[in-house]
């Protein structure tokens, strides 16, 4: 008997269920998913996001339009090597054109090398969550996983229109993220640990510094 057959056999025997039997709802009902989306003015999302993001230890900038992005982050890039994602929004903001910024990767190994050596990773986001100050990033040709992960600092350029209220709203928009991507990650604050004496230390394995640039008009 295969392991699969035995495990399913044991489960069905214990639960007194037959193979292929649909779930029973009488004894253990399953209600519709409980999503709680607060009713609030969408214009306030950016304020709330910035407040939460900073309380986690992030640094944020509010800019009016795309042309204000490069000036906002210029100081962070002085004497630094950065890797940027292929997001069209970054190109529109002029980030990928900067001399310190290396972009346009399509090869995994080259990307990995570059990210491991870079000081800063620059990405856009697919969404951001106001209630928790989180970035939501879906892996795609535009957004690789490693840019927000390997360098010690991460800058995310966040179009204000991508702000959602909370996790529940995200799950109402993306009821099954796996249909679109192999990886969706919620990033809520800088990498941290409290494994030694419960003392908080930032930047264990992921970026210890994170920055958000919220752009009002795309």
């Amino acid at each position: 008997m295969t392991a699969r057959d035995q495990i399913f056999g044991d489960i069905r025997k214990a639960l007194k269920r037959a193979a292929g039997e649909p779930p029973l709802f009488e004894v253990a009902p399953l209600a519709a998913p409980a999503l709680r989306i607060p009713q609030m003015d969408r214009n306030l999302y950016a304020d709330l996001f910035v407040q939460k993001f900073e309380s986690l230890g992030g640094t944020s900038f509010r800019v009016r339009n795309t042309s204000a992005v490069v000036p906002a982050i210029a100081e962070l890039l002085v004497q630094k090597h950065a890797v940027a994602s292929n997001s069209p929004f970054l190109r529109k903001c002029g980030v990928t054109g900067l001399v310190q910024v290396h972009a346009g990767f399509t090869d995994r190994d080259q990307l990995k090398e570059a990210c491991a050596a870079a000081d800063i990773g620059i990405t856009s986001v697919d969404y951001a969550l106001a209630a928790t100050g989180s970035f939501v990033m879906l892996s795609s040709p535009n957004e690789a996983r490693l840019i927000s992960l390997l360098p010690p600092a991460h800058i995310a350029i966040v179009p204000r229109s991508r702000l959602l209220a909370n996790l529940d709203e995200l799950l109402s928009i993306l009821p099954r993220p796996a249909d679109q991507t192999s990886s969706m990650v919620l990033i809520t604050g800088p990498s941290r640990t409290a494994d030694i004496e419960q003392i908080l230390v930032r930047g264990v394995h992921g970026p210890g510094e994170i920055y958000a640039v919220v752009v009002d008009e795309e």
């Binding site: 892996s139 993220p177 809520t188 800088p190 394995h205 992921g206």
Partner: protein, 464 residues
């Protein structure tokens, strides 16, 4: 096995350890309290009820949801491997590593892999498995098992860590925690970049998506699941939930209950290998679904709720027993109240018979459990089973003899009266001598009456 009384006494007598446990669990208690209060999370109690209902439904229809999960993992290009035991899981990984020529793998924190002694099994065959969670890495170097479900190195101080690093990594003695963290980051960064396989656990398995969810704070799980070309996730079959949208309930509870975070730093939804046009991510994805005794817990309607656990560790932090005796005095990797109910069920009630009794049934665990597992109720059920097994096995001859003796005395009135009057004389002495001394040291015994009922009745009876 009997309770490790000497070890427990040692833990209680160690002021440094007591302080470490008390402070760390105390902080976790406070952090949780701040984020589940009525002001911070008005619907907290509703979430708990919803989480319980979803888990109950899933566990009671587990075969259905596992089949759905399996077909969706395959649809996204992943493979599902069923493992009856830890050995089967290790054998699969060893075989795959051999085929792909992999000599080293990186691991993110997984209690399930601790449960099956995954690293030891691989290292017997010269496959190096490197723990990458900071706490787990320290413990791997120190050759210890986790002290706590979410804070594995809770019992160690910075000075302990300095000694471990000096001894095992050959670095200068370093007692500044930030610098210790940096040392670990540098050593492990190289491992991430070189490893051929990344192994993770899974906090949830989403049936309708064929996805796994991994929550963490350090980024080591993201690295383990994103950098190496092969990702293997190991999870118990009970981790299934029906829909991705159910995470609105579970993620709002897990981080808050564990560390007081509304969301942990990284929450990864992962499904299958990287898609055709994605730049990075693994080329191969395997989901190892482990039984290892879980199916044994399913039959009993009261006890099966032990499988609802989402491993937040809140019951440990709030347990007066855990907070005194610490994590290593529990016989298995799962400690605290949840360990006390799942260990006897996985290992059989006759293996650690003391465990279900090592509780005052104060109920703190059930009160904080985010999925409302009735831990005291399960403990009582297990006590019943332990007692029943003892009675059947007749191993406790002394107890049986004592009851037989009592039955005989109680049915012979003259002897009963004689012994009762002797008893009222000698009874006050028993707590000070003999086998009852220890038991009585924590209890106040009632004074025997000066006059027995028989004597009282005889005195009142009219002398006609």
């Amino acid at each position: 096995m009997n309770a490790p009384e000497a070890d427990i006494q040692q833990a209680i007598d160690d002021p440094r350890l007591q302080l470490a446990i008390y402070t760390a669990t105390g902080r976790l208690i406070d952090h949780r309290a701040n984020v589940v209060s009525a002001e911070a999370l008005p619907h907290y109690q509703d979430l708990r009820s919803e989480a319980h209902a979803i888990k109950k439904h899933t566990i009671e229809n587990l075969d259905y949801y596992l089949e759905q999960l399996e077909s969706n993992v395959i649809a996204h290009g992943g493979k599902v491997v069923y493992c009856r035991t830890g050995q089967e899981a290790a054998d699969f990984v060893l075989d795959l590593a051999k085929k792909r020529g992999v000599h080293m793998l990186v691991k993110s924190k997984s209690m399930t892999s601790e449960e099956i002694h995954f690293n030891e099994r691989l290292e017997e065959h010269q496959l190096e498995a490197v723990e990458t969670d900071l706490g787990e890495y320290i413990l791997q170097l120190a050759h210890q098992r986790p002290y706590h479900i979410v804070a594995p190195a809770l019992h160690l101080t910075r000075y302990d860590v300095a000694d471990v690093f000096t001894k095992e990594l050959g670095v200068e003695n370093e007692v500044v925690i930030e610098k210790q963290t940096k040392i670990a980051r540098n050593v492990l960064r190289r491992k991430f970049l070189d490893a051929g396989i990344g192994v993770s656990g899974a906090n949830f398995l989403i049936a309708d998506s064929g996805a796994i969810v991994v929550v963490e704070n350090e980024g080591n799980a993201r690295l383990s699941t994103s950098v190496p070309k092969i990702h293997i996730a190991i999870a118990g079959i009970e981790k299934a939930i029906p829909r991705a949208q159910d995470l609105a309930v579970f993620l709002n509870l897990l981080g808050r209950s564990a560390t007081g975070q509304p969301l942990t730093v990284y929450t990864s939804f992962l499904s299958g290998p990287r898609r055709e046009n994605e730049i990075d991510g693994p080329d191969e994805f395997y989901l190892l679904l482990l039984d290892n005794g879980r199916t044994k817990l399913l039959a009993d309607p009261v006890k099966r709720q032990s499988l609802y656990c989402i491993r937040c560790g809140a019951c440990l932090n709030h347990c007066p027993v855990y907070r005194k005796i610490g994590g290593h005095n529990y016989p298995w990797v799962y400690s605290g109240p949840i360990g006390a109910i799942i260990t006897p069920q996985f290992h059989g009630v006759t293996s650690d018979t003391w465990l279900p009794f090592a509780s005052s049934l104060c109920g703190a665990c059930a009160e904080v459990c985010p999925v409302k597992i009735e831990i005291p109720k399960v403990l009582l059920k297990l006590r019943e089973e332990v007692t029943e097994a003892r009675r059947k096995s007749d191993s406790d001859g002394l107890e049986r003899f004592a009851f037989q003796l009592f039955a005989w005395i109680a049915t012979h009135p003259k002897i009963y009266l004689l012994l009762a009057s002797l008893g009222s004389i000698f009874f006050p002495l028993t707590p000070k001598i003999g086998p009852l001394k220890k038991w009585a040291s924590q209890r106040t015994l009632p004074e025997p009456a000066k006059q027995s009922f028989h004597q009282w009745w005889a005195a009142r009876r009219p002398k006609s």
